[in-house]
């Protein structure tokens, strides 16, 4: 197959890009090797292509990026301000603000600040301090009282448990009722000791007082029977 000069010129890029089929490649080579017009043309185009591939990437001017950003987004100061405003939307900042707000609410509530009827005077540091101080003392006193009440309850509870676990001791500590014998007799009928009787009475009184002071405990104490 013999190619003409027009055919060769039309397929020149395909030849240079290596896109010709083997048959086409042979025909192309056959023509170029025998044609005085096409041989220098192919060499010239290959040379030009080599020159194009040898062209290096040109470094853009350093101020170009900044000029583009200024033309599109505005001046650098405005861009920084926008970036800062954007950072306010970050979850970390929101959590920080929420925790600070919660702390302020706790402090104001503790100081007796009324959110329904807010007064400017309530926000004075001296007022907040005095109110908070008073509140703290009240809470402290209440907690001390609560702990001491709890101690009494636990003492009673432990005493009751001891009696249940050791019936022998119970028999010794609990006064036995005998229709014939009065307490304090010495006829070896194991009467109750007067000291133990007095302690049981005392605990019973304490429980009644505690039940009166702490209505929450009154139910559970009322259910229990005193020894």
């Amino acid at each position: 197959m013999n190619w003409t000069c027009e055919q060769t010129e039309a397929r020149l890029s395909d030849y240079l890009d290596g896109l010709l089929q083997p048959v086409e490649q042979s025909a192309f080579n056959l023509h170029v090797n025998t044609c005085e017009r096409c041989a220098p043309l192919v060499a010239g185009v290959a040379h030009a292509l080599g020159g194009l591939y040898a062209l290096e990437s040109v470094e853009p001017p350093p101020q170009l990026e900044n000029a583009i950003l200024t033309a599109t987004l505005g001046a650098p100061s405005w861009r920084n301000a926008r970036r800062w405003l954007k950072s306010l939307q970050s979850p970390r900042f929101v959590y920080s603000v929420a925790s600070v707000a919660a702390t302020l609410v706790v402090i104001l509530t503790a100081s007796g600040f009324s959110f329904r009827k807010p007064k400017l005077a309530d926000l004075r540091p001296a007022t907040i301090y005095h109110k908070t101080d008073r509140k703290v003392h009240q809470v402290y006193a209440q907690s001390i009282k609560f702990v001491s009440d709890l101690r009494v309850v636990y003492e009673i509870q432990s005493l009751k448990n001891d009696n249940l676990e050791n019936p022998a001791t119970r028999e010794q500590t609990i006064p036995q009722k005998s229709p014939d014998k009065q307490p304090g007799r010495t006829d070896k009928t194991n009467p109750s000791a007067p000291k133990q009787q007095n302690r049981a009475d005392e605990i019973g009184r304490n429980l009644r007082v505690l039940a009166a002071q702490c209505p929450v405990l009154s139910g559970s104490i009322g259910e229990r029977r005193l020894p």
């Binding site: 010129e9 039309a10 020149l12 890029s13 395909d14 240079l16 043309l41 060499a43 010239g44 185009v45 290959a46 040379h47 030009a48 292509l49 020159g51 194009l52 591939y53 040898a54 062209l55 290096e56 990437s57 040109v58 470094e59 853009p60 001017p61 170009l64 990026e65 000029a67 583009i68 950003l69 033309a71 599109t72 987004l73 861009r79 926008r82 970036r83 954007k86």
Partner: protein, 189 residues
């Protein structure tokens, strides 16, 4: 490529840093296309800025389903370059007439910086000079194929012409470039 599409989405949602990233990624490539087309750094800088300005304004019209962001941006660049070529055609004709007057000094060398002159002494400079003498339609085809290494399908998308036309333009552009280089006295060794 997908990253570009994500950045575009973020830009459309008002994320300035995403746009900054897009500018950083594509400035060099766009500047090089402009420079190879015009052969002038100052013009290329202004044109690159115009390209990004237009892209920023029309970012909402970009559809990732229709092709890559880089191809779309190249298409915008090409349109601006053609507009620029048509706008400055009258100036170039005037310059050409002045070049033919015997008393006028060589404007081509007078307007260039010393470093550009040195560059012209090399093959790269000569090829660049030959490129700017090509007709715009052949020049853009050669730049996109041989300098930007785009596929035929991408060039077809950028130029909005059939693939056969793309191949034909690239072929004619290369042959024409070789002829110009030969006229300039640059011959294969």
């Amino acid at each position: 490529m997908e990253q570009d599409a994500q950045l575009v989405q973020q830009c459309l949602q008002g994320d300035g840093s995403a746009w900054e990233e897009l500018v950083r990624r594509h400035t060099r490539r766009i500047f090089n296309i402009c420079y190879r087309f015009t052969g002038n750094r100052t013009e290329s800088q202004d044109l690159s800025q115009d390209v990004f300005l237009r892209v920023y304004r029309t970012l909402g019209s970009y559809r990732s389903a229709h092709g890559g962001f880089a191809t779309w941006m190249t298409s915008v660049t090409r349109n601006l370059l053609i507009d620029h070529y048509r706008r400055t055609k009258r100036d170039r004709i005037t310059d050409s007439l002045e070049d033919k007057m015997p008393a006028v000094e060589n404007k081509e060398s007078a307007g260039r910086r010393p470093d550009e002159q040195a560059l012209l002494g090399e093959l790269g400079g000569q090829v660049q000079s030959a490129l700017t003498r090509l007709s715009p339609e052949l020049r853009e085809a050669v730049i996109l194929r041989d300098l930007q290494q785009l596929e035929y399908s991408e060039i077809q998308q950028v130029l909005s012409v059939p693939e056969g036309t793309v191949k034909s333009r690239i072929n004619r552009g290369r042959i024409e470039l070789a002829r110009i280089l030969q006229q300039m006295g640059v011959r294969p060794s």
